[in-house]
């Protein structure tokens, strides 16, 4: 078990939780700055928790042509005539959570036709941005009386763990039970049940159930434990996503987009079985909300990363209870 902080505070334990920033630098920086921002406004935040899916999903090729650059973003062709325009474009990409990469025409042709090269470039860009983020976090969190937990989600490649392990002022609590203070523990799991996208950390429900049982057995007091599990519990309203057809397109019925619960049954069963104080989730961006499973308050902070908007949850734990919770967006 990892010990990060020990003292129980009289004003309770303030948590800021968010998830699924998916490569958006704007959202990640907002997450890191959240403790300072909320403290200045009288809301104590002692723990920052990012619940997985740190990396983005898309490379945006920028082709160098003579004296200008050409790219394609948000369904539109973009021409960038100056270095300033290129810089602004890169910044916009960082907000959107996509990875711009400058190619010459020849490099781009080679990139287009070679899937292993595409994968290598994508991997490099993901890790490069994450590295920059972690440096930013170390700089901002140094000397600040706040503990920061960042766990990978099902979209994140295994190398993310190595970078998180090397980072200063950050703890990766994935597949561990960590103690937040004398009263509260946190069990974390960044895996997900199988998705149609076959993500790097998708595992069968049985595997999720086994891991959750194993982790729960390490918890000293389940009544005051927080479960931070990337995937939300099944059929709680926190897991409604568009149903997809065989080609992974949203299924449109006569009543519009068909929605379906896609959460994990293993997570639901574990919450019902162990009844922790609180469970924090992400994964399903459009299902921001709170629900109760028995005594457990379950929260999905949702995600609007591509707009540069950070959705999060401000939670205060006091006397072994959830004293308050507020879903925020900013």
């Amino acid at each position: 078990m990892i010990w990060f902080r020990r003292k129980t505070r009289s004003d309770g334990l303030g948590i800021f939780f968010c998830s699924d920033v998916h490569g958006s630098t704007t959202c990640f920086k907002k997450f890191v700055n959240a403790a300072t921002y909320y403290r200045q406004r009288g809301q104590p935040v002692h723990c920052l928790i990012l619940g997985g899916d740190l990396t983005g999903k898309l490379i945006v090729p920028v082709i160098r042509e003579d004296s200008h650059y050409r790219s394609y973003l948000l369904g539109r062709e973009v021409e960038l005539a100056t270095a300033v325009e290129l810089q602004e474009f890169v910044k916009q990409c960082e907000t959107l959570g996509v990875y711009p990469n400058v190619f010459s025409a020849e490099e781009y042709e080679a990139f287009r036709s070679d899937s292993s090269l595409q994968e290598a470039v994508f991997r490099r860009l993901m890790l490069q941005r994450l590295e920059e983020w972690l440096a930013f976090a170390a700089d901002r969190l140094r000397g600040l009386d706040v503990s920061c937990y960042i766990l990978p989600g099902n979209d994140d490649i295994p190398e993310v763990d190595d970078l998180l392990a090397q980072a200063s002022w950050i703890v990766n609590p994935d597949r561990k039970v960590v103690r937040l203070d004398d009263t509260y523990e946190m069990l974390s799991l960044g895996l997900s049940n199988p998705t149609p996208f076959e993500c790097p950390r998708d595992v069968p429900e049985e595997e999720l159930a086994r891991l959750l049982d194993e982790l729960a057995s390490q918890v000293e007091r389940l009544q005051t434990c927080i479960f931070t599990i990337h995937v939300p519990p099944f059929n709680t309203g926190l897991d409604l996503a568009p149903a997809l057809d065989d080609e992974l397109r949203p299924r449109i019925g006569p009543q519009g987009v068909e929605m379906a619960p896609v959460g994990s049954t293993a997570v639901r069963e574990a919450i019902l079985k162990y009844q922790p104080l609180l469970s924090l989730h992400g994964h399903i961006h459009e299902s921001k909300g709170v629900a109760r499973l028995g005594r457990t308050l379950c929260v999905n902070a949702g995600s609007e990363y591509s707009e540069g908007i950070l959705r999060g949850a401000l939670i205060t734990l006091r006397d072994g209870e959830v004293a308050s919770h507020l879903l925020v967006s900013g």
């Binding site: 309770g12 630098t25 704007t26 959202c27 920086k29 907002k30 997450f31 700055n33 959240a34 921002y37 909320y38 406004r41 009288g42 809301q43 948000l74 539109r76 907000t95 309203g237 409604l240 568009p242 949203p250 449109i252 006569p254 009543q255 519009g256 987009v257 929605m259 459009e286 909300g289 709170v290 629900a291 707009e307 540069g308 950070l310 401000l314 205060t316 004293a323 308050s324 507020l326 879903l327 925020v328 967006s329 900013g330």
Partner: protein, 445 residues
């Protein structure tokens, strides 16, 4: 853009216009839509029972009891979940449109002479009145009616009426988060709804006035609303006159059912809007958290739905048994203040939240002579709603009572929203929740 308290006040006022609307629309669904439809079908089929039923349910207690049943049916369908609601609305929407098209066809297939002849025959047979068409006009004139002159000024002042006709075309924004590519679909849906409504209304009203006659229509309405000398057995509405023009029972039933459905289906939309607003307030801790509770199976917000239904039920009672609505219910004015306030948010957004504006889709970021189109649209909206508000307070026939009680009621609604926000904020602060943090943007740098 605006202070959260102003945003809440605006939404609170809009929601109250809807709750009041649900109360009165429930009554209209029964003693206007259902009663007129039953009587019209009864006359067409020669069924005295249906005619009597139409007359019976127009009385206060039957109207209240049937209105209660209508509200219960709305709650039951809403609690069955969004999927069922969509299926329910889609199915009956098709039926309602079919009935309206049938009504249009009936008018297109008939002439003024046919209408006068059939109307006179009907009135002779049922009311014992000969040459009723001319008699309606003469009686109205004897009571002070004269055909008003047409002018551009009058048309502008009649904007609230035109607005009323098209009310609801923006309501799909409430399910914007549940549709595919809302930025494109919403725009298309709103414009398509407006275009469909406009074309249909223009065609139907042209055909209607062509057949029924403008002078007769106005005279019948004048007698109905200003005197007790209307000889018509039911309200002189479009579907009643359409019913007189056809002997086809099936067509008559379709027209009658359609007339009822347009009133009934609107209740689902209005209740859904208010429920979603209440849910959002509770979600943001302005209202008790309990209001966010949902059913386990269908995830329907059952507490908020019941609260809205109970409020509407009380208002249904008030609209039937008390003169409350005669003094306070200036629907369009109450409603329009919210849209008037929203205009300021649209004008200010590109300047006060440049980051959001720059991140918006290209069609939102368009500029006209360097001025954001969004700000221009906000300014146009502001002018439009200023005219609508002016008309609402000067033309009671269009939007309701305009006296000091109505104005005080309107102000009371909006001011209470403002106070409620600050009271809620103070109470939540004691619990350690600061409502100002809800949408506060964390600096990214």
């Amino acid at each position: 853009m605006l202070h959260p308290a102003i945003g809440f006040m605006s939404n609170w006022g809009f929601s109250w216009s809807q709750v009041l609307g649900i109360g009165i629309y429930t009554q209209w669904t029964v003693n206007y839509a259902l009663a007129v439809s039953a009587a019209t079908i009864g006359y067409a089929t020669g069924s005295d029972a249906l005619v009597d039923f139409g007359s019976f349910i127009s009385r206060p207690w039957p109207s209240f009891l049937l209105g209660t049943l209508v509200l219960v049916s709305v709650v039951v369908v809403l609690l069955a979940g969004m999927r069922f609601l969509k299926r329910f609305l889609n199915t009956f929407f098709v039926l309602a449109v079919a009935g309206s098209l049938a009504t249009l066809l009936v008018f297109l297939a008939n002439s003024r002479e046919t209408f006068v002849e059939k109307f006179n025959r009907f009135m002779q047979n049922t009311q014992g009145l000969s040459d009723a068409y001319a008699s309606v006009i003469a009686t109205a004139q004897a009571n002070g009616f004269s055909l008003p002159p047409e002018s551009l000024g009058a048309a502008i002042l009649a904007l609230p009426l035109g607005y009323w006709v098209f009310i609801g075309f923006t309501y799909s924004a409430y399910i914007g988060g549940e549709i595919k590519e809302p930025q494109r679909t919403q725009t298309r849906a709103i414009l398509a709804a407006l275009a469909f409504g406009y074309v249909f209304y223009m065609a139907a009203l042209w055909a209607y006035f062509n057949v029924v006659g403008r002078e007769f229509n106005h005279a019948a309405a004048y007698l109905e609303y200003n005197t007790d000398q209307s000889p018509l057995p039911v309200a002189g509405v479009l579907n009643f006159f359409a019913g007189l023009l056809t002997d086809n029972v099936l067509l008559n039933v379709l027209i009658g059912v359609s007339f009822f459905l347009w009133h009934y289906l609107l209740l689902f939309v209005m209740v859904t809007i208010v429920v979603r607003n209440i849910f959002a307030w509770a979600f943001d801790h302005i209202m008790p958290i309990r209001l966010t509770e949902v059913t386990e199976k269908t995830h329907a917000p059952w507490v908020a739905t019941i609260v809205v239904a109970v409020l509407a039920w009380v208002l249904l009672w008030a609209s039937i048994f008390t003169p409350l609505f005669d003094y306070v219910f200036n629907y369009i004015a109450i409603f329009s203040v919210a849209f008037w306030i929203t205009s300021f948010a649209a004008i200010l957004l590109p300047y006060r939240r440049r980051d959001l504006f720059e991140a918006a889709p290209p069609n939102v970021r368009r500029k006209f002579f360097g001025i954001p189109l969004l700000s221009i649209a906000g300014a146009v909206n502001l002018v439009l709603f200023s005219v609508i508000l002016y008309s609402s307070f000067t033309l009671p026939a269009f939007s309701g009572p305009v006296g000091p009680i109505a104005i005080a009621f309107l102000l009371g609604i909006y001011v209470s929203g403002l106070l409620l926000y600050f009271v809620a904020a103070a109470l939540r602060r004691r619990e350690g929740i600061d409502l100002n943090l809800l949408y506060g943007e964390i600096p990214p740098e």
